[in-house]
Symmetry: C2
Subunit: 317 residues, 2 copies
Amino acid sequence: MRDKRSLRWISEQYFEQNGSHYQILLTPPTPLEFSRLVHISRPVLIKGLQVVESLTRLWTNDYLVERMGERPISVAVTPNGRADTVTSHDGTDYFVEPSVEQMTMSELLVSLSTGSSQNGNVYRSRPASQEGDSLSEFNSLKRDIPEEISWCSEALGQPPDAVNLWIGDSRSVTSIHNDPYENVYCVIRGKKIFTLFPPSEGWLLEEREYPHAAYTRPSPSANLKISPSGQTVRWSSMPEPDVHPPRGTHPIQIEVEAGDTLYLPAGWWHHVRQSGPTVIALNWWYDMEMSGMSWVMLSFLRGMHLEENGDAKDDSL
Amino acid sequence: MRDKRSLRWISEQYFEQNGSHYQILLTPPTPLEFSRLVHISRPVLIKGLQVVESLTRLWTNDYLVERMGERPISVAVTPNGRADTVTSHDGTDYFVEPSVEQMTMSELLVSLSTGSSQNGNVYRSRPASQEGDSLSEFNSLKRDIPEEISWCSEALGQPPDAVNLWIGDSRSVTSIHNDPYENVYCVIRGKKIFTLFPPSEGWLLEEREYPHAAYTRPSPSANLKISPSGQTVRWSSMPEPDVHPPRGTHPIQIEVEAGDTLYLPAGWWHHVRQSGPTVIALNWWYDMEMSGMSWVMLSFLRGMHLEENGDAKDDSL
């Protein structure tokens, strides 16, 4: 416990200084305003982003199916909607990645709207990152999706590192984690319920090394099974921090409705539930600033200095 | 030592990530560029600030004397040029503030240029802060001094908290300390040699509580004497960190020549020597951002969490 005295002091002081407040903007910030928000590094709910509001109207199921046609897209499939999460298997807790399977947009939307049919699988579209493969899958939606959020690119002086499209339903749950990205997260359809913890409370989320596995499907008609990979992943051991927040944490819950945008600062821990038969979101990931103190602090607040054998330099958030 | 494990880890990681590099700009930044620099929070040497370059030419001794006339100004006087520093007295180490005495600009400049005459006193003009009194002292120079640095005010979204005028000579030494201000520091005449330590190395500068005292002059012709006040001040116990940097620190030395401007980020430790018979500088102090993590980290990195009885909330940097 003596080792955690510093972490406790910081998390208490941070809460005392900042509370659970988050700002709501009724119009998008200017680049300079956003640069100040990045420096403060607190979540901000942003309304009135024109592109998001347009897409909430444009992206009907019919439109998406027509645009995408028969082109197969890579979909993350799990038996229970919980991708990238810790799951028990043969008496051991594994960090389990989803299976990636090909289907058409029409198949994806139908399987979402028919609930637990299709073996109860729940699907999530793979990130349409800037790498050739995933991007090209969504080529026919690209004209609708801006390559960047101008006030964010200008503020940070760089284009986004990745643009991700997310399609799922209310069974999908994103387990608690953080990313080394400044994240501009827009909900197009449905609602996302973010439960956020500041980086200062990361040590209370008790990350551990878990053996890594992935869902695989031995044959097209077989059920998904868990296949260990032999690798390990550092992940939080808190399954439901939204319902049972660890003692000493101060979660901030933000409901992001269709048309709304959340600025989720780099390093903030987030657990995400969805609401709605079909939930669609787009997000822009920007590399965080690596000069200065931010990266060092994020590593410290995860308790990297407490690792016995770990080499913090090799660590990726 | 166990308590300092976190501080050591952070200072080592910070150095590994950032080195001793500082940026040099040949022209002033835009507000947005400066906002990014504030987020990174590393020192930057800025050239080409027009107002500074103009003042290097405009502010001759003759001009200053003529402008200021017989108006008395408040001058910080010490026997040795070392104001706000730890000094031994009657076998005890005191933090000693200078005596504040009234003289004309002409008297101040003459006493600087004649070296150790006048009882070897060295003078430093008091901050021309925004409070009525000190500002009005320099009213006749106000037309030359911009109320704000536009790119800094715009970046931070606020006017400066104070504008300070500094006049001294090569005997003046500013002992190591830090301030909770974003500092835009312009040298008008002579040269300033800054020895800087990042906030992450503050704990190695070994702050302690010292009894507080001030130089006083019992009568106009008497010598200065040290008068304890009964209060205490937390101050670094490192008298010459520029010559003898503490083990584990990585000082950055920056020579700021006449016409140059230093961006000294909030919380950076600085020890300052001067070079030249008369050294003149102007600086703009802006309140640092108190939301988010910055303030908490500055307190932590000073080792406030190690205080046995201290109440960190009452602490002012």
